[in-house]
Structures are given as structure tokens and as C-alpha cells.
């Protein structure tokens, strides 16, 4: 039953809304969640997968912080893989194929069964503030509910429009109801700049209409750990994906009909993501003979298959012909057509690193409304926004993560400091210290932080500590203990090296570039140590030089982060700044010198000028 007053209201129950609501409720705030339709809770509107490069790191981090995505993703796994194996531990990334319907049901149950949390079907049409603080919302049905903090997590539902060729419908993804009763205007009224972004999804096709014999099977890996640090089981039974390709016929059909693509004829004005190009984009922009197409299952109990790599906004008749050209899809039956979707979002540079809107106390935004894309990016923002909403209500200091602490820190800082001109996707290339942000160290980095704030449970913290002890034990032993000489000689000769000197320690062996974690594991000196702890310890030894350099660099940067820039600086009066720097600083108003230094157009000399200014101002 909906009450008249809550600590925190969360608008939306997608990946951001769920984490925000659960985090706030677990931090003992009373929470009301609005969702347009219950079956849209935690729905994977695009690909049925969680993780992938950099995104896998984010899921591990969400989990280490006590968020929900990792646990639910593990429960709904159909297949799991470690990407980038052999390219270095910093870029190992988990990716799981998910039963999207099961995932959604699990999340719905969690919301329903969480203390302090109320779930309501409904739509918010207005946010009302008093004295620069949020005070209440008005629903489309006319209800008024008071709240001290509000998290807006509308995803792609805000004033969304679906486009298939020349058809267009005002609805959310997958035929769900959109949110269109005035919330955009309300946000604009609060001083937020509204933008229009675009994304798209491919068709869903019937499994029994596919000839898999013409495709390459893509299996998962049965012997790897899952997303959550709390999940001990491994996924031994997995469902495969399939790889096939477009060809000259596919490309010809697309080119002949390109004028009918709303992306090309000007019908779609929203800005789309470059990393998620439609098939017409791929064909028009890149002169390749073929493009990869992955066929992925959408769930255990569904006949639907996802056609990854073929998102499109072409008309239905073109889609039918185009899909049928692909090997194995000759007799394809399309269950739902590919579509493009446009939606309202904001410029996240209006936010603090807590995801609170700078000029409105208690108002937070998280997820795709901030210009990001991806379930993982959304969930991460929801988690941080939810934690901060609860802390704000309790009048406690905010919780933020830095760029050197977590991918979530990089994501946040990129969004609020640099801003984005397209739906933002996390990439490992965006992190300057990725070797410090490995997926195998998410718990070590973040669980203590979450435990301190009250989100990570006792058992999660205890697990982290046990693992840490194991790692330290391994490190200490590796420095002293020596593997059997004969075994080492065998190993090194097999790897094409010279016979080693006698008395080589494990640590010395590990540091050899040609020696891998698996090679050392196979010497059986650490059979009492868990695989995951062993992997982390070996990586710490192997990368010692790089880690030290990166840590020193982080320390140096941290000093700049500590230099706060007062919120009331009038940059036009700071003498010595170059004009470009002056304009950028005035527009973006960074909170500290570190942020200022990352703004393009602000030079090291400008930073020194700012330091001088701070000094003179103090006196």
C-alpha cells in the first residue's frame, strides 16, 4: 500500500532504478518505486547478456559494493565466458548470456521482498521543490507523495518513440508503455538541459526457423567463476550461441533501400551510439565483405532468439528480405521486428559525482537519462545514486568513487566532468589505470568501502577478508618457497627458454614473461590456495613494476583532487587564465583541481594559475 510520505522515491525500475531502490532501502531509508508496468522491471530490452569488456568489471564492482546485478545475473545465466584471456589480467572480462525473463522475475521478487521498499505501478508527471530541495511528486493519476530525495531513473522510457521504417509509435521498448505525462517538462523547469538520444535493437526470430548447421557454434566456459563474489557454484550446463555472417546480398538489399532508413532520410534526429551501429550504418560506413552476426538465446523457456549485430530501423519488408540472406536464416520467421528508439535524457554535467543535480538538493538522476547506455552502466549509477539519496536523507557524508578506485568512478567522472555527445558506453580504454582496476580485485578494492557505509553485509565482508588473507599468504610464500628444480627446468625448456639457475623462487619464476598463471598453478605448490586468490597473487607479483608505477601516478593525481575549487569562483576575475580555459571552467565548474585538469582545453599552466588563485584567495 502506497503511503503519503517516503524518504526516497525512485522513478523507474529498470537496471538503475532497481539498484537505487535496493541500496536506499538496505541503508534503512523508506523507499517507494514507481514502474510503468510490473513486467518491465529489470527487463533487458536489448541483448540478453550481462557483462562484456569493461562492463564485466562494472558488474563485479556493483557486486563488491553490495548491489544486486551480479547475484541475479548469476541466477539467470545461460552461458558464461571470460573474454580477452591471454591478453593480460587487467582486461579479462566476464560476459554472461542471460535468461532475460528469469532475470526480470528474480528482480521483481527482490523488490517485493525487500524491507522498507514499496513497489507501485504508476507514472510520475511532476517533481515539486521547495527552497531548492525536492519535496514531493505528483503522479499521472493525481496522487501526491512526499519525499526527501528522488532518484529519476527513466531509462529509455521518457517520451520515447519507436521507429520501424516509416512507422513510428509513441511507446517504450518491447511494446511497453512509455512515460510521457510531463516529467520532461518538469525536469526542464528545474533547469536541466534536455537532449534526445537514440539507440536501436535487432529483430527477435523464431528458434525453429533457424538452420544452425550453417553457423558456427559458440560455447561457453564451464570452469570459470561467476559474476558475484557470493556465488561459489560454476555453471556447468550451458546454452550455446551461434556465429554467422552477412554477405554481398545482404549489403545490396540494404544499399538499395537506404533511402527508406529513418536513420538516413532524416526522420531520426536523436544521436546514436557509435559502438552500437545499426547494420545499415555498418554497411554504408565500412567497406567490408561481411559482418559478424551472433544468434543468442533470450531465455530457457522461450523460442525467441536475438540477432546480435543486425539492429536496424529499416521497414519490415526490407528487414524480412535482409535477414533471409544470412546463412542459416533462409527461412527465418521474425517474431518482433528490429526498431530504433528515441528518448529524452539530460546533460549529466549538471550533476555532482553523487548523481545529485547541482542546483536541486535531494534530486538524483541515474542510468540512461544521464546519457549512458548499457544495463551495467545504468545499474552502477543507480547504486551510487541510491546510496547517496539514503545518506542525504540520513544527513551523512556522501559516497563517491574515484577514477583510480573503480570503473564506476571512471564512468561517473566521465559523465559529470567530460559529458558525452552520444549514449556513453564504458570501455577499458577509458580507464587510465586499468591495471589497478582488474576484475579479480573488485572485492578487495570496494567491499571495505561498502562495508563502512553499511551496504555490504557481514558475510560479504568476511569473504573478502578471507580471500585477502589467502592472497597475502600466497605472496609471502612465493617470495621464499622454491618449486622443484626439475619441474622448473622442464617448464622453462618447454617454453623455449634456458635452463634456470638453481634455487629460483616462485616469485622469480612468475616474473618471467613467458610463464603464465596456469604454468605456475600446475607446479602444485599452492594447491591449498583457491584459484581466484592464486590468480590475484600471481598477477600482483608479475605486474609488480607496473603496479608500483601506476600507484605512484595515482598518488600524485590524488593531491590535485584534494585541492577543492570553491563553488562561487568567478572565473572572469581570475587573472592569467587563457580564454578557452576560462570559458570551459566557468561552464563546467569543476569541484577540484584534479577535475579541472581533465577538462580539455585546460592546460597545465592554467592549473598552476588556479593554484595561485586559490592561494591568494585564502589569504
Amino acid at each position: 500500500m502506497m503511503k503519503k510520505n517516503y524518504d526516497v522515491i525512485v522513478i523507474g525500475a529498470g537496471h538503475a532504478g532497481i539498484e537505487a531502490a535496493l541500496a536506499a532501502a538496505r541503508l534503512k531509508a523508506t523507499v517507494l518505486v514507481f514502474v510503468t508496468e510490473l513486467k518491465a522491471v529489470g527487463f533487458m530490452a536489448c541483448n540478453p547478456a550481462v557483462g562484456g569488456t569493461a562492463k564485466g568489471h562494472i558488474v563485479r564492482e556493483i557486486d563488491a559494493l553490495g548491489g544486486e546485478m551480479g547475484v541475479s545475473a548469476d541466477a539467470a545465466l545461460l552461458q558464461i565466458k571470460m573474454l580477452n584471456r591471454g591478453k593480460g589480467p587487467a582486461v579479462h572480462c566476464l560476459r554472461g548470456q542471460e535468461d532475460k525473463y528469469l532475470y526480470s522475475r528474480i528482480m521483481l521478487e527482490k523488490l517485493r521482498n525487500t524491507e522498507n521498499l514499496t513497489l507501485a505501478e504508476g507514472e510520475v508527471s511532476r517533481i515539486i521543490t521547495e527552497g531548492g530541495r525536492v519535496s514531493r511528486v505528483v503522479t499521472a493519476a493525481g496522487d501526491i507523495v512526499r519525499a526527501r530525495a528522488i532518484v529519476v531513473a527513466t531509462g529509455v522510457y521518457l517520451n520515447s518513440r519507436i521507429i520501424i521504417g516509416d512507422e513510428s509509435r509513441n511507446e517504450g521498448p518491447s511494446g511497453f508503455k512509455r512515460s510521457a505525462s510531463g516529467l520532461t517538462e518538469s525536469l526542464r523547469g528545474l533547469g536541466l538541459e534536455i537532449r534526445r538520444f537514440k539507440t536501436g535493437t535487432p529483430a527477435r526470430i523464431a528458434k525453429d526457423s533457424i538452420d544452425f548447421s550453417k553457423m558456427q557454434i559458440q560455447e561457453g566456459e564451464c570452469d570459470i567463476h561467476c559474476f558475484s563474489h557470493l556465488t561459489d557454484e560454476k555453471l556447468t550446463v550451458q546454452q550455446p550461441c551461434y556465429l554467422t555472417y552477412t554477405n554481398a546480398d545482404t549489403h545490396r538489399i540494404i544499399k538499395e533501400n537506404i533511402s527508406r532508413s529513418p536513420l538516413y532520410n532524416g526522420e531520426i534526429k536523436g544521436i546514436g551510439p557509435r559502438y552500437c551501429p545499426s547494420i545499415e550504418d555498418k554497411v554504408m560506413r565500412f567497406d567490408k565483405e561481411r559482418h559478424q552476426i551472433f544468434i543468442e538465446p533470450e531465455g530457457r523457456d522461450t523460442d525467441e532468439m536475438y540477432v546480435q549485430g543486425m539492429s536496424s530501423s529499416l521497414p519490415r519488408d526490407v528487414q524480412e528480405r535482409m535477414y533471409a540472406t544470412v546463412a542459416g536464416l533462409e527461412n527465418v520467421r521474425i517474431l518482433r521486428y528490429a526498431y530504433a528508439i528515441e528518448y529524452d535524457c539530460i546533460d549529466a554535467r549538471a550533476l555532482y559525482h553523487t548523481y545529485q543535480v547541482k542546483h536541486t538538493e535531494g534530486l538524483y538522476t541515474a542510468g540512461q537519462i544521464n546519457g549512458s547506455s548499457g544495463y551495467e552502466e545504468a545499474a552502477a549509477q543507480g547504486l551510487i545514486a541510491g546510496i547517496n539519496a539514503a545518506l542525504y536523507v540520513k544527513n551523512e557524508p556522501p559516497f563517491t568513487l574515484s577514477r583510480s578506485e573503480a570503473y564506476i568512478g571512471v564512468l561517473t567522472d566521465d559523465l559529470v566532468t567530460k559529458g558525452t555527445n552520444e549514449p556513453y558506453r564504458m570501455m577499458t580504454a577509458r580507464a587510465e589505470h586499468r591495471i589497478l582496476l582488474r576484475e579479480d580485485t573488485a572485492d578487495l578494492r570496494l567491499t571495505p568501502r561498502a562495508y563502512a557505509v553499511g551496504l555490504a553485509s557481514e558475510s560479504r565482508f568476511a569473504r573478502m577478508q578471507a580471500r585477502k588473507a589467502e592472497i597475502e599468504n600466497t605472496l609471502a610464500r612465493a617470495l621464499k618457497e622454491k618449486p622443484p628444480h626439475a619441474a622448473v627446468t622442464d617448464l622453462l625448456c618447454r617454453l623455449g627458454g634456458e635452463a634456470p639457475k638453481k634455487g629460483m623462487t616462485y616469485a622469480e619464476l612468475i616474473k618471467r614473461p613467458e610463464v603464465s598463471v596456469e604454468d605456475v598453478r600446475a607446479l602444485h605448490g599452492f594447491d591449498d590456495i583457491s584459484e581466484q586468490a592464486f590468480f590475484t597473487a600471481v598477477t600482483e607479483i608479475k605486474y609488480e613494476g607496473y603496479l608500483k608505477k601506476e600507484e605512484a601516478d595515482v598518488k600524485e593525481r590524488a593531491r590535485l583532487e584534494e585541492r577543492l575549487l570553491p563553488t562561487d569562483i568567478d572565473y572572469s576575475t581570475v587573472s592569467g587564465l587563457r580564454t578557452e580555459a576560462r570559458q570551459k571552467l566557468a561552464a563546467l565548474r569543476p569541484q577540484n583541481i584534479g577535475q579541472a585538469s581533465r577538462i580539455s582545453g585546460v592546460s597545465p599552466a592554467d592549473i598552476t594559475v588556479l593554484l595561485v588563485y586559490l592561494r591568494t584567495r585564502k589569504s
Partner: protein, 473 residues
């Protein structure tokens, strides 16, 4: 904090010049560069006390003062060391280069002040005063950089940086889009990296030619006492610069002067005759002569043609040269040929070039028999022109032998050295195939050049990935 170094006195010739270091290695570097009575200054330098001693740089040393200030009782709040040397760009830049060799890096404009501010050390008046200085310095740096970037060198450096950038894009694209890029044909990263490293090395090897263009060719005259070294100096200068006498050991200190010949500045340094001696002053003169020759572009081995026993082979191979500069050119000069029948001009050895000799780390000393021999008479001037032409041609060979435009600034050399080292490490990374480490090194290499070109890796990289590859699902 890493350790920064810069010349703190105004550029140009001055009576003295100060090189300043700040950071946690400053004291260690002071110990490595400054010697008191032949012993490292590491433990002998006392906070705030000037000490006299020897400042050792690559291939030369200067006598002057050093002082250290220990953290936090210093201008920047960090450990500081200062060397008060004799003025002159070559000396000061040499000292800076030596500091860089021991782990410092060149300071950015205003960086000493920035550190002072970060550590809460500068007072209000000091802080206000520095803004103009910073702006002036960075404006000068920008001007210098833009002059340079418009030229051939700028194009070469940008091309190298672009090459590194493209390699990073390939590697990043493969990491962030592993499945999509499986279907792409990518260039061999290891080979590309090796090519880039070679390019960086080639550009560095032009540093010597660049320096010669800016400051002139350094020629040091070595030989036995009374071989006619000072007479030769006077002959090329066409004036009585050095005292000439029949007494062996007349010249004890270095005597330097320059001429312009065929548009090239040539700096000649006459030195004490090389012989074993118990005279302390003369001994020190001999040491200086050898040291001066280590830093020279051309060494003239002077032999008295009337002396049957004229050949002299001093040990010229000690004191490894910096990696940046190729080895020296050696010429044998036979003097007093007017007394032995003339026959002036080049007599042996034939063509040579810096490029040929630079391949030998010891400057080709082992093949002393193949040095070109010039016969001349200082007294009548015969053959002197031939010698000067040979020196100029040595310079011109260095200039044309260089694959890219001339590099003159120590800042550029420092950036290129950092780039070259990072590329070498990236190449090692390809052995283990760990792309995450390779990228750390490639980024360092890219950003090192970025200090010259002003472009650092960042958003451009991601933009390029999307424009070059069809990635994303």
C-alpha cells in the same frame, strides 16, 4: 612526486647559471652529479650550505657550487638541489641532461611554483608574482613549439606519434571489441612496434647534428707535448690565441675559440700535451684534455711529422658517451710538414661519415690506422684549408645522414628518449603478449611526444577506434 629539473637562470650567456632539481630523487641525483674532492656529494652536502666541487655531466665537468635544501624546508617543500655552474647554454644543458640521465625529467613551465603551491610553501606576494612568469614561459614554449611543429621536425614527430596512436588504436580495439575484431585484418603489432622504436632511435641520432647546427662543431686538439697543437690553433684562428713556445707543457688548461668556415661555426679547443707527469697542475690539464675530447664532435690527433716517434695513441675509449649522440670523428693531423717535404692535404683514410663511425661504440679507436691523415704546415698555412673543409664535410655528412630534421632542444631530446625507452618496453611486452602492459608503455611513448606536439592520448583515441573499425554489436 617525481623529480623535475630545469635551468633556473635566464637563457643565454651569463657569468654563472643555476640548474635546479626538486623531488624525492633530488638529493640522490645531487650525489651522482656533484663531487667534493673526488667523492660523491651525497653525504657531504648539508642543508642550506653552499659547497664547492665538481659538477660532472656527460663528457665534461665544471667546477662550481652546489647546495641542497631538504624537505620540507625548501622553496617547493620537497628536496631541492641546485648547481651553480659557469654560464653558457652547453654547460647548463649538459648538467640538465646528466640529471635526466639519473632519473629527473624536465620541468613544465611554472612547475616549481606549482609544487610550492601544492605544498603550501609560497607566500602571497610570491604567488602573485609567478603568474606573469608562467604565462611568459608557457607562451615562449608554445611559440617555440609551434615554430618547430611547422617544420620538418614537427612533421616527423607527428608522424611517429600518429604511428604509435594507430598501434594503440589497434590494440585497444582488440581489447574492447575482441569478438568483432577477430574478423578484422590487423597489422602485426610486434613488427609495427619495432619499426616505431627504430624511427624514434633514428630521430634521436640526429640530435648531435642538430646541436652542431645550433652551437657549432666542437673540435678538440689532442697530442703529445710540443706536437704543434697550439700552433695549429693559432693557424686556424689566424691569430695568436695560444701561447706557443718550445718548452713542452706550455699549454696546461683548455684554450677555446671559434671561427666560421663555409657557414659552419667551428669551436676549437687546444689542450695540454698528453704525457705522463708528476706535476699536479699538468696532470690535471691532461685529464681535462681527455675529458674535453669525450664531448667533442671531432678529435684532431696531432703528430709532429719531424718526430720519428710521433705517433701517439692515448686511451680515448674510456667514459662511455651518452646513447643519444653517436661517437666522435677522429682525424690525424701531421704538423710541421714544411720541414718534411710538403705533400700537403688528405693522405689516407678516405671518405668517412658520422653514420659510418657511429656504428662503433668506441668511436673507431681500434681502427686508428684508418683515420684520415691531413698533412699541413701551421707556420705557412698550407693544408689548413683542407683540414677545415674536412671538418665541415663531417658536419654536413651528419646533417644529410640524419633521416629526419634536426633536433636541437634538450626538451625534445628528453621527450624522444622517454618515447624511445617506452617503445622498447612495449616491444618486450609483445614477447609475453600482455596487451594491458603494452598499452601502458605505448601510452607513455605517445604522451612523451605529446609534450612536444601538445596531443595526449584520450578521447581522440576512442574516436579513432570508432572511425577506423566496424565495432559494436
Amino acid at each position: 612526486m617525481d623529480t623535475i629539473v630545469a635551468i633556473s637562470t635566464p637563457h643565454g650567456r651569463g657569468g654563472i647559471g643555476v640548474v635546479r632539481l626538486s623531488g624525492n630523487k633530488a638529493l640522490a641525483i645531487a650525489g651522482a652529479v656533484f663531487f667534493i674532492s673526488g667523492k660523491s656529494g651525497a653525504k657531504r652536502l648539508i642543508h642550506g650550505k653552499m659547497a664547492f666541487g665538481e659538477i660532472r655531466a656527460d663528457g665534461f665537468s665544471d667546477f662550481g657550487y652546489a647546495v641542497v635544501f631538504k624537505a620540507p624546508r625548501s622553496f617547493t617543500g620537497e628536496d631541492i638541489a641546485e648547481f651553480h655552474c659557469h654560464g653558457g647554454t652547453r654547460i647548463l644543458e649538459g648538467v640538465v641532461a646528466a640529471c635526466i640521465g639519473f632519473g629527473a625529467r624536465l620541468a613544465e613551465p611554472g612547475e616549481f611554483t606549482k609544487r610550492a603551491l601544492l605544498n603550501g610553501k609560497t607566500d602571497l606576494a610570491g604567488a602573485e608574482g609567478v603568474i606573469d612568469m608562467i604565462n611568459a614561459e608557457s607562451a615562449a614554449a608554445v611559440r617555440a613549439a609551434s615554430d618547430m611543429l611547422n617544420g620538418k621536425l614537427g612533421a616527423d614527430i607527428r608522424a611517429l606519434q600518429d604511428g604509435i596512436g594507430a598501434l594503440m588504436e589497434n590494440t585497444e580495439a582488440v581489447l574492447d571489441f575482441p569478438e568483432e575484431t577477430e574478423d578484422e585484418v590487423l597489422p602485426d603489432g610486434k613488427r609495427t612496434c619495432a619499426e616505431l622504436a627504430a624511427t624514434a632511435q633514428n630521430m634521436l641520432s640526429t640530435a648531435r647534428a642538430g646541436r652542431m647546427a645550433k652551437y657549432g662543431v666542437d673540435v678538440v686538439i689532442l697530442g703529445k707535448p710540443n706536437a704543434g697543437k697550439s700552433s695549429l690553433l693559432n693557424a686556424v684562428l689566424k691569430k695568436e690565441r695560444a701561447i706557443v713556445s718550445a718548452t713542452a707543457g706550455t699549454t696546461r688548461d683548455l684554450v677555446t675559440d671559434y671561427i666560421e668556415y663555409d657557414g659552419v661555426k667551428i669551436n676549437f679547443t687546444d689542450s695540454a700535451g698528453l704525457r705522463k707527469t708528476d706535476d699536479e697542475i699538468e696532470k690535471s690539464g691532461v685529464e681535462r684534455a681527455i675529458k674535453a675530447s669525450l664531448n667533442a664532435d671531432v678529435v684532431l690527433l696531432v703528430e709532429d711529422d719531424t718526430d720519428a716517434d710521433g705517433g701517439y695513441s692515448p686511451d680515448l675509449s674510456f667514459g662511455a658517451k651518452t646513447e643519444v649522440e653517436p661517437a666522435r670523428i677522429f682525424l690525424t693531423v701531421k704538423t710541421k710538414c714544411d720541414l718534411t717535404g710538403g705533400n700537403y692535404g688528405v693522405k689516407a683514410g678516405g671518405a668517412f661519415s658520422f653514420a659510418q663511425l657511429s656504428a662503433k661504440s668506441d668511436g673507431g679507436v681500434k681502427e686508428s690506422g684508418t683515420f684520415p691523415v691531413v698533412r699541413l704546415s701551421s707556420r705557412f698555412g698550407d693544408g689548413v684549408d683542407v683540414l677545415l673543409k674536412l671538418i665541415v664535410s663531417a658536419y654536413k655528412n651528419a646533417e644529410t645522414g640524419a633521416m629526419s630534421a634536426l633536433i636541437t632542444s634538450p626538451r625534445h631530446i628528453s621527450c624522444l628518449t622517454a618515447c624511445s625507452e617506452a617503445l622498447a618496453q612495449a616491444y618486450d611486452g609483445y614477447v609475453s603478449g600482455l596487451a594491458d602492459c603494452i598499452l601502458i608503455d605505448l601510452r607513455r611513448a605517445y604522451d612523451a611526444l605529446g609534450q612536444i606536439t601538445g596531443t595526449t592520448a584520450g578521447e581522440n583515441l576512442i574516436d579513432s577506434i570508432f572511425s577506423r573499425f566496424c565495432v559494436g554489436k
